[in-house]
Symmetry: C2
Subunit: 329 residues, 2 copies
């Protein structure tokens, strides 16, 4: 299978990290996907994985000339959609950084291209394949907390110093789609329900000169089945914190409460007294899963439909926050 | 000072627990405040505190005949307001279970009575005086996390088996005003800002035969200063949990993040590397504080204005959830 890499801004390491688990892969080319984008990070990661690739100076030329079977897209976030659409129209598989698009119009174009492509797509919701999230998901699916009624999800990052692509809504898309998308994906994934409405708020206050970048955001979703799901997102994690990110989710159901915190899974239910700390499953690589699913060897944890639904939810939450009103699905 | 106790449903123990810290108190009477209310719990608590009191069969008669200087009101929640209004109109001080009222119309009556009474009122936001909350509040006021940008608050309780007053909106008021009021109060107290808007959702699903009682609720507040504050409330804490309640708050500011969890206060800021666990202040008794404030000996942690603002926020959040729309303040 021939793959092409477009961009080096997002989590291209998920793809390069998966290469060692795969057989018969040729990296047919790599190219920047956005104006001024350096491909050095991707080149180093490829080299580390034992691969090299011809360089193209433009993502569209890579698609047209290298003719990969699968395109990995991780450029500036506002450019994800045009490469995804183009690749799908040419019958290529697409492994794309989330969000799939930064506007609802772009998302619709990708969806339409996907509907006729007959190929596969997955967005890089990489946290699904980490030990804590895999373990929590298994426990929820085994019925350990009964029927889900309420979810609280949190993403908190250190801000550090973010470069130009993060400072403009056009290239960045917003903090809800970029950071919040993970937590919004967890809501979709764990509940297995659909988004019904969202009310959200976000703020650029105190963003330390980071242009359009929102420092904090909160979203209140109502899911089918009347499940309430709140998502809190911030770049306020201090530099002195023990880790870069503080991912959390708390899921309360009719038979128990499950939490992920500090990469641990904590469960309270009728099976035991007090709080159980679950034994963690091993991590998996999402890109390797995706390629295997194309080869007919297993399922990918993230489906195209979920990638689209989560992107839509992010963009409607951003719209809600921009317009201070409830947005329906 | 002569005090009267009306009702035995709410946290009357805050008042009886404060008696031993006070001098010159006479309990001039006790009476049920709501139809069918037993006063046995209050009588036992009084006895334990070394007090006894004449019994009246009705709260209004107690007010009229025993003529206390201060009335403690802790009957069915829908009846708080009428006793508070009556006591204020007669120039009595009022120590009332939260929420102060269960309808905006009743709240307005109490506010009007308060405005002309010249006496004091405080609602029983007892968690403010616990070690963790006192410690966290001191740290925030000392500037340990800079300017607050985002708050997440949580109340989670075991449901157990709740009696008739909890099963009807008329007597109970709703889960947002009853359980959520604490967390909504924390938002008001810690931020020192005012409520600007709220979007909320609540659900009676899976309430195990508890009538109108909402099992879960979430509120998304926007405060003055653009602070986002989410409040999550549920009765889904399993019976096997180590404690009855799981109170939490996480406050993210420009200079740090502070959390209360498991009655501990955790702080991350530039003063140290990693997570600091703060040494806890001692608890105080809110009723003793309230009486002392009347006597001109110190301030009460909870003001009348905050009691009204928080009650208003609870009732507007409930309205938002009932009507699925944003409610402004």
């Amino acid at each position: 299978m021939k793959i092409g890499l477009i961009g080096s801004t997002g989590h291209v390491s998920i793809a390069t990290g998966g290469l060692r688990e795969l057989q018969g892969i040729e990296v047919a080319g790599m190219a920047p996907g956005s104006a001024g984008e350096s491909m050095e990070k991707a080149a180093q990661l490829l080299d580390k994985a034992g691969f090299s690739a011809p360089r193209y100076d433009d993502g569209l030329r890579l698609i047209q000339e290298a003719k990969p079977d699968l395109v990995v897209i991780a450029c500036h976030f506002g450019d994800h959609a045009r490469y995804a659409e183009e690749a799908l129209r040419r019958g290529m598989h697409v492994f794309v950084e989330k969000p799939v698009a930064t506007t609802l119009a772009d998302l619709e174009k990708v969806r339409l291209a996907y509907d006729t492509a007959g190929t596969r797509l997955a967005a890089m919701f990489g946290s699904r394949t980490t030990p804590a999230f895999r373990t929590a998901y298994q426990a929820v699916r085994q019925g350990k907390i009964g029927r889900i009624r309420l979810v609280q999800a949190q993403k908190s990052y250190r801000l550090g110093i973010r470069k130009a692509p993060y400072l403009s809504r056009d290239t960045y898309g917003g903090t809800i789609p970029w950071v919040g998308s993970h937590a919004i994906d967890w809501v979709l994934w764990f509940t297995g329900e659909r988004f019904r409405s969202v009310y959200a708020t976000h703020s650029r206050e105190e963003n330390r000169g980071h242009g359009d970048l929102e420092m904090s955001a909160q979203c209140q979703f109502v899911m089918t089945g009347g499940i309430a799901a709140s998502v809190s997102v911030d770049y306020l994690r201090p530099e002195s914190a023990p880790t870069h990110g503080d991912d959390r989710i708390r899921i309360a159901g009719t038979e128990g409460v499950l939490e992920i915190r500090d990469q641990e899974v904590l469960l309270i239910n009728g099976e035991a007294s007090g709080i159980q700390k679950l034994k963690l499953l091993e991590s998996r690589n999402l890109f390797a899963e995706f390629v295997h699913s194309i080869e007919g060897r297993g399922e990918c944890t993230v489906s195209a439909e979920e990638s689209f639904l989560c992107t839509e939810a992010c963009l409607k939450a951003r719209q809600s926050a921009d317009e201070s009103r409830v947005v329906l699905f």
